[in-house]
Amino acid sequence: MIYAEEIIQQRVARELHPGTLVNLGIGLPTGVSRFVSPEWGILFQSENGIVGMGARPPEGMEDEDLADAGGGFVTAVPGSATVDSAFSFGLIRGGHLDATVLGGLEVDEAGRLANWMVPGRMVPGMGGAMDLVTGARRVIVAMQHTAKGRPKIVPVCTLPITSTRRVTMIVTDMAVIEPTDDGLVLRERAPGVSVEAILGATAARLIVPTDIAEMQFLRIAV
């Protein structure tokens, strides 16, 4: 499982553009930052109000006024900036955020993401997710390919969607998939994973080009 998460995180890291602003969702997406070199000059936004969020501080150096969107302690990198909630979402909605990386419960053939509620069971609220999916220049979904063996990439979302917008890319522990006008296109397979295995774990129709490259990773020390 940890290996699966690392595959996803490492592959997503490659998608981030040097010198841009990126928002990583709580959970699996947060770990993407482990595979991002400081040299790339990427600034991480946390929607609760910081541009330039850093790693968790060493024990004893936490500050009660500096947390991420999950309420966990973080640090601020040199050259960071703090903003209020309206400004933070101005950055998101106004297209100033190059990419958001979010977890997903389902993605469907139209590239629509569902990640904020399971009716009658789990109603956490959308938090910043709807703004992020609507406003970021690129939306990257980072999730396990299946949940308890059930495909999460489905013909049509059965859960309430987060936005009608088509996400930019889906990165799972099995594959990289790109939603297009024609539907979901399989772009890459994880190391050692066959196209057949991907098709078997996907409920949605996948367009499969002739050559499916294996995911490549950057060599970043963790």
């Binding site: 946390s46 929607e47 609760n48 109000g49 910081i50 500050d63 009660e64 006024d65 500096l66 947390a67 991420d68 969107a69 999950g70 309420g71 601020a76 703090t82 903003v83 209020d84 909630s85 309206a86 933070s88 979402f89 101005g90 998101i92 909605r93 509620m117 009658g120 789990m122 109603v123 956490p124 609220g125 959308m126 938090g127 910043g128 997710a129 709807m130 703004d131 609507t134 406003g135 309430p160 969607i161 987060t162 936005s163 009608t164």
Partner: protein, 217 residues
């Protein structure tokens, strides 16, 4: 010049049934002493407008756990099972609003504007029963201004004019709520003499603040 009052005296100003905005994000930047005083005062049937309801027994979660809240307008309640339970059982009416829309709705009320036009939530459950306004062939989701009777704020520093400064991610909704409530009560970490905060460092001008809470004894 503003007199600094105790949290208890401030809680006495707030009647049962009041609509109360509370600053903070998962308790970071919330006025914890004010919340404690409000719990102690036992005012019920409160409507709480806030980003979230924190965790059980922490921050706004203390009001929820004490059963004093009948309505919540927030963007996220996922880390407070008590609020979720209250919502599913019907004990607490919960209106979930996308976080950026919530921020703009509060700002809109405080800035004297007529509401918010956003793409966020279009075509989702968040648009259910909401008005869609078409402008030049494009659809926008309309969200009305959101005001309150009281705003309970945290700040890092204040002066006796009521000028406020916030620190790091403890800023969040505090400066927006300072504009949007009839009565604004702020609990700063420290209160400085007038003139000690330079004008460019002030985040919320003191004219917006009605009461400051005294430092802890």
């Amino acid at each position: 010049m503003k007199n600094a009052i105790t949290p208890e005296a401030a809680a006495d100003l707030i009647p049962s049934g009041a609509v109360v905005m509370i600053g903070g994000f998962m308790g970071v930047g919330s006025p914890h002493r004010l919340i404690d005083a409000l719990v102690a005062a036992g005012r019920g049937e409160l409507t709480i407008i806030a980003n979230d309801t924190a965790r059980p027994g922490f921050g706004i979660g203390r009001l929820i756990s004490a059963g004093l809240v009948s309505r919540v307008i927030a963007s996220h309640i996922g880390l407070n099972p008590d609020t979720q339970k209250g919502m599913l059982s019907g004990a607490i009416a919960v209106e979930l609003v996308p976080q950026g829309t919530l921020a703009e709705r509060i700002r809109s009320a405080g800035f004297g504007l007529g509401g918010v036009l956003t793409k966020t939530g279009l075509g989702t459950l968040a648009a259910d029963g909401q008005r869609i306004i078409e402008i030049d062939g494009e659809e926008w989701l309309y969200a009305p201004p959101l005001a309150a009777d009281f705003a309970l704020l945290h700040a890092d520093r204040a002066d006796y004019n009521g000028n406020l400064t916030y620190q790091l991610t403890a800023t969040n909704f505090n400066p927006l709520m300072a504009m949007a409530a009839k009565t604004v009560i702020c609990e700063p970490r420290e209160i400085l003499p007038v003139g000690a905060i330079p004008p460019d460092a002030v985040d919320t001008p003191g004219v917006l603040v009605d009461h400051l809470i005294r430092r802890a004894a």
